[in-house]
């Protein structure tokens, strides 16, 4: 389904750029940018600035999140960083520390 999948045991250190969906089960350090959706699954660790379309977070992100669409912080998510998006949802059980910037 998703075009790019970073598996659970995989660590990427550097810059990930994609024009398609990116699903992270593993670890990404550096920069993660996609024109389409970004999904950070439970157990994933992202120590990077994330840019993309809809961003779904169930794992851990340390870095700023910029989305052209929406950001969903799901149960179990742990986010440290600023979030800039048109829409944002923070589910019960999600941990979040940072600023929210929405187009008001």
């Amino acid at each position: 389904m998703a075009s790019t999948v970073i598996g659970a045991g995989i660590t990427i250190e550097g810059e990930v750029t994609s024009d398609e969906d990116v699903v992270v089960h593993g670890t990404v350090r550096g920069k993660l940018s996609a024109k389409d959706g970004v999904t950070v699954e439970h157990g994933a660790v992202v120590e990077a600035d994330v840019a993309g379309g809809p961003v779904h977070v169930a794992g851990q992100i340390t870095g700023n999140i910029t989305s052209s669409d929406r950001v969903d912080l799901q149960n179990g998510a742990k986010v440290v960083g600023n979030v800039k998006a048109t829409r944002i949802t923070i589910a019960d059980g999600a941990q979040f520390k940072g600023n929210v910037d929405m187009d008001v």
Binding site: T4, G9, I10, T11, V16, G26
Partner: protein, 200 residues
């Protein structure tokens, strides 16, 4: 396999290192390092500019870098690899293109050989270049031939002058000219005439 492991899509670019456990399927572009415990599949549209290391490495796309497999390396149709192949088992199917060194067999010797031949080959290429640079001088070699010719002419001239000089200076020629002189006194034509005049 893609669901179990990782997949880098065709429009995805990764600049950096990819490491860890699990299988990975590459369809996009990677510039950096790929070192995975599991299997690696380099798809037909992939463009990899990095060394690739995995358990079993199957290449159907373009790789610029050394490819090392702990289990095997297989180049299938469409593979374009510029780099060395190191694995216990190596297969190159028809249509697979390779420019590089192939070392199969024992992984340890192959891994050790993978570093040394690389180092040995890098100087080897410059040597070939210098040879190639030495080859153009062949035009110079005719010059060298011309130069010897000039020297030969010069030696000829010098020998000619020496021949001219030697007859005058060498003592061998003086006795040769003085030798007929003693013959003449033996004849002593004037002496005989004088004796005849005296006798008369």
């Amino acid at each position: 396999m893609a669901s179990a492991g990782s997949r880098i899509g065709p429009s995805t670019v990764i600049r950096g290192s990819i490491r860890g456990a699990g299988n990975i399927e590459l369809e996009g572009r990677v510039e950096g390092t790929i070192d995975v415990d599991g299997d690696v599949i380099v798809g037909g549209n992939a463009r990899i500019k990095s060394p690739v290391s995995g358990g079993r490495v199957v290449v159907r796309g373009a790789v610029a870098g050394n490819v090392r497999g702990r289990e095997a390396v297989v180049l299938e149709d469409g593979a374009r690899v510029v780099g060395d192949l190191v694995a216990p088992q190596i297969g190159i199917r028809p249509g697979g293109l390779l420019r590089g060194h192939v070392s199969s067999g024992d992984a340890f010797s192959a891994s050790s050989a993978a570093t040394t031949p690389r180092a040995a080959r890098l100087p080897a290429k410059p040597v070939a270049v210098t040879r190639a640079k030495e080859v153009p001088p062949p035009p110079p070699t005719p010059r060298k031939n011309e130069a010897p010719a000039r020297t030969q002419r010069a030696t000829v001239a010098s020998t000619a002058t020496s021949k001219l000089v030697q007859p005058v200076a060498s003592p061998l020629t003086k006795p040769a000219r003085s030798a007929p002189a003693p013959i003449m006194p033996t004849l002593q034509k004037g002496a005989k005439a004088a004796l005849k005049k005296k006798a008369r």
